[in-house]
């Protein structure tokens, strides 16, 4: 490996590492501070489980749940529930883990 190749290898490694640092820093910044309502809801026991999120999603859009997992939506930690709806559409419903509030829903 000549000197130019060694320098470029180091530069590539530095680029990816820098990008990772920016991403991690931004992700930390992007998470909004917990609002008083959210904090109160969490301590008051309004934090919801995945099973509760699935139940709520099925009430909104009956069908077959294909997947439910933790995901981030607009800076909020949510439960994402994917449903093959009885209406023939594919639904993705997002519930705020801390408050149980529906953050978003999308159909395809």
């Amino acid at each position: 490996m000549n000197q130019r190749t060694a320098i470029m290898s180091a530069a590539l490694l530095a680029t990816v590492t820098s990008l990772a640092d920016i991403a991690v820093a931004s992700e930390t910044k992007a998470t909004p501070p917990a609002t008083t309502t959210a904090a109160t809801a969490a301590t008051a026991g309004h934090e919801i489980t995945k099973e509760q999120a699935v139940e709520m999603a099925l009430q909104a859009h009956p069908g077959k749940v294909t997947k439910a997992y933790e995901d981030t939506k607009k800076g909020k930690k949510t439960w994402e529930v994917k449903i093959d709806g009885a209406d023939g559409k594919k639904w993705e419903v997002y519930y705020d883990i801390k408050t149980g509030e529906r953050v978003a829903e999308e159909s395809k």
């Binding site: 680029t15 992007a30 998470t31 800076g75």
Partner: protein
């Protein structure tokens, strides 16, 4: 029927003389891009939805995101290497005017295309389009990550993006990912065609870096 004569030592030497064409970083960049793009496509691409439904969604998202960051790093590297790398890696070596590319494509189709040690004009054009398409894919991906999830380097800038704009960005991300896949198919057809035309294994050359002199 004329009997085949054994190769003389000189002919053997001519057949086996190879030179280094693709430097180690070009090869590493090429195959790392292949792996990163495949990983990114499999973890979020629609054709793999059934497989994705059987795996942990959160982990898939993390892997997809890091595959995307890897592609960004590799594109940056390839851009720099296109100006600072060895001669066969430089854009000046393989980027030609559209008229030259079209003329070469015509000669390829009539099986009269001359052999190039580095990228031929059609291959060079394909590489530029592939790199541009990948760039559009990752820019749209980063924008989607910031606007939809509120994560990544663009999260602060795109925090208040409307749902309709997010939908448009998502469509663009999917379009460019699928367009890149189409280009990859075209690239593979070109590699096979040229390999047969000039009786050399171009895929092997991208592994070893060596081509017949």
């Amino acid at each position: 029927m004329e009997r085949l004569k054994p190769l003389t030592p000189d002919m053997n030497a001519a057949k086996t003389t190879e030179i280094m064409v693709w430097d180690p970083l070009v090869r590493l960049c090429h195959w790392a891009l292949v792996v990163a793009f495949c990983v990114a496509y499999i973890t979020q691409g629609e054709p793999f939805e059934t497989l994705q439904n059987q795996l942990n969604g959160e982990s898939l998202q993390i892997v997809h995101t890091w595959a995307g960051y890897t592609i960004v790093g590799l594109l940056f590297f390839r851009l720099i290497w296109g100006f600072a790398g060895p001669s066969y890696a430089r854009f000046a070596n393989f980027v030609h005017r559209p008229s030259v590319v079209l003329a070469y494509v015509k000669r390829v189709l009539t099986l009269r295309a001359p052999r190039h040690l580095g990228h031929n004009p059609a291959g060079g054009a394909m590489i530029v389009i592939l790199l541009l398409s990948l760039t559009c894919t990752v820019i749209a991906g980063l924008a989607l990550y910031g606007a939809d999830k509120g994560l990544g380097p663009l999260a602060g800038v795109l925090a208040d993006t409307s749902d309709s704009t997010i939908h448009t960005i998502e469509e663009m991300h999917e379009f460019f990912a699928n367009f890149t896949l189409l280009l990859v198919a075209g690239h593979l057809i070109g590699v096979i065609w040229e390999s047969l035309l000039h009786r050399e294994n171009l895929a092997r050359a991208m592994l070893t870096g060596r081509k017949r002199a």
